[in-house]
């Protein structure tokens, strides 16, 4: 009887130990693979040939009808501005060079949608993007529920897209 009890106690303890140790170590992160890959020697997030961020600023829509545009980021291959009205943030507008992220460009391949004549996609529930000159991604992201997909499309059209297209050739 005692031996039986000891046996079951042992089983119980080993199961408990197993549970405890498996809980103690955190599960591997969903970003472990990209972490490993992007810390390898020679890995980079931005390629040398990328356009400078500063060269994108002039293609953003001008301030109009009480809308305020505040530039927020300017990094190699990327520029971003915030769109607000009456102190309320409505959207974020950006231009990026897809040379740095080929998958960003790939998503336009099967797109039937067009905005201002350029291939366009809806992404998630807050973003609309178009591709200029097979290289530059122009994106508008809603930051307020009042700013709809139609608003995003309308603001995408206000970028100086045909001038941005010339940047590809220059």
């Amino acid at each position: 009887m005692l031996i039986q009890f000891r046996k079951s106690l042992l089983v119980f303890l080993s199961v408990a130990l197993l549970l405890l140790t498996s809980c103690a170590s955190a599960p591997p992160s969903r970003y472990q693979a990209v972490q490993k890959e992007s810390t390898q020697k020679g890995a980079s997030a931005v390629v040398r040939e990328s356009q400078s961020g500063g060269s994108f600023n002039r293609f953003f829509p001008p301030e109009q009808d009480g809308y305020k545009r505040i530039y927020t980021q300017e990094k190699k291959g990327f520029a971003e501005a915030k769109l607000s009205k009456e102190g309320k943030e409505l959207a974020v507008m950006s231009i990026s060079d897809t040379l740095n992220l080929p998958t960003a460009k790939a998503k336009f391949a099967n797109s039937a949608q067009k905005i201002a004549g350029y291939p366009a996609v809806e992404q998630g529930s807050t973003a609309t993007a178009l591709l200029v000159g097979d290289r530059y991604q122009v994106k508008v992201l809603s930051r307020n529920p009042s700013f709809t997909a139609a608003d995003r499309a309308s603001w995408l059209e206000r970028f100086k897209l045909s001038e941005l297209a010339k940047l590809v050739k220059s």
Partner: protein, 295 residues
């Protein structure tokens, strides 16, 4: 190896002395800071997206961007971490106090050496300059004109604004008094490069402060303070901030007497890391904003 960015954001504390002190300063900028922690949480909060595969894509791009050392994000985080001189031993002593009790400053007097006013002023100036440099490392210099850049700086909100409120309160008003900005300017203009070099806080981050040599860096610090002075003094008077107004809520956390403000300032300096804490949050937010726009 340095910790991955997702781990740093996941490990941000939800309840320690730093978060408590920042929480007490909420009255200055109500609702601006809500201690957003966790990498995926931050992605959801910043982008408003809930689709898991999209979150994965955004997170992966943010990780790539952070790990590319040429992009400046690692330098910015290093600045935020390094300028916060914390004392681990003291911090663990504080933790030994029961949760919910106010911490008796008296019990720590023997462990704290208050800084001389001059050193305290250089600390304030250095933290302010670190903010400017880290801003540029993270965001570049947005826009095509000085006006664009200033507009971008003046657009501080959320955890970035809370960091400035804490800087004004904990490193300005409490140790230096209501005229802390004037004092910082006059101290810096009368300082010689050698005195700057010998300040611990400055020394720890000097390798990333522009200016070439310490004389040039001193000049850069003076110019930086001068350029934010207008905005900052406007902010202080607009919100009616005084040493008394920021001290009152702190009484709920630390038990101190008002003739020991230099000790209180030194205590908060070594027992909190609000620059690192909110700096990590700012960095995560900006990385995610860029990542969601680039994918």
């Amino acid at each position: 190896m340095n910790k991955p960015i997702f781990q740093l954001v996941d490990e941000l504390p939800t309840n320690n002395l730093t978060t408590k002190v920042l929480g007490m300063l909420d009255f200055v900028v109500p609702g601006e800071w809500n201690n957003l922690v966790g990498f995926d949480n931050t992605i959801r909060a910043v982008t408003g997206e809930t689709d898991e595969s999209l979150i994965q894509q955004i997170g992966e791009r943010a990780v790539q961007l952070y790990n590319d050392s040429s992009q400046g994000y690692q330098r910015a985080l290093w600045l935020y971490q390094t300028v916060d001189v914390s004392d681990k031993v003291l911090a663990s002593g504080i933790l030994a106090n029961k949760v919910g009790e106010t911490i008796p400053l008296l019990g720590f007097l023997g462990h704290i050496t208050p800084q001389a006013q001059k050193a305290q002023t250089i600390d304030f100036a250095t933290k302010l300059v670190v903010e400017v440099v880290a801003f540029c490392q993270i965001n570049g210099i947005p826009g095509d004109s000085i006006g664009d850049f200033v507009a971008s700086l003046a657009d501080y909100s959320g955890e970035s604004l809370m960091r400035i409120v804490a800087l004004i309160s904990l490193d300005g008003l409490i140790p230096l008094g209501p005229r802390f900005l004037d004092q910082a300017l006059s101290t810096i203009s009368a300082l010689n490069p050698h005195e700057l070099e010998s300040n611990q806080t400055f020394k720890s981050v000097s390798s990333l402060i522009p200016g070439g040599n310490s004389a040039g860096q001193l000049n850069f610090i003076g110019t930086s303070i001068d350029s934010v002075k207008g905005w900052m003094s406007g902010f202080v008077s607009e919100r009616g901030l005084t040493p008394q107004s920021v001290l009152a809520p702190l009484k709920g956390i630390v038990d101190f007497s008002e003739d020991k403000l230099d000790y209180l300032a030194a205590f908060l300096d070594i027992s909190t890391n609000y620059y690192e804490h909110t700096g990590t949050q700012t960095l995560a937010r900006r990385l995610i904003e860029r990542a969601v726009a680039e994918i």
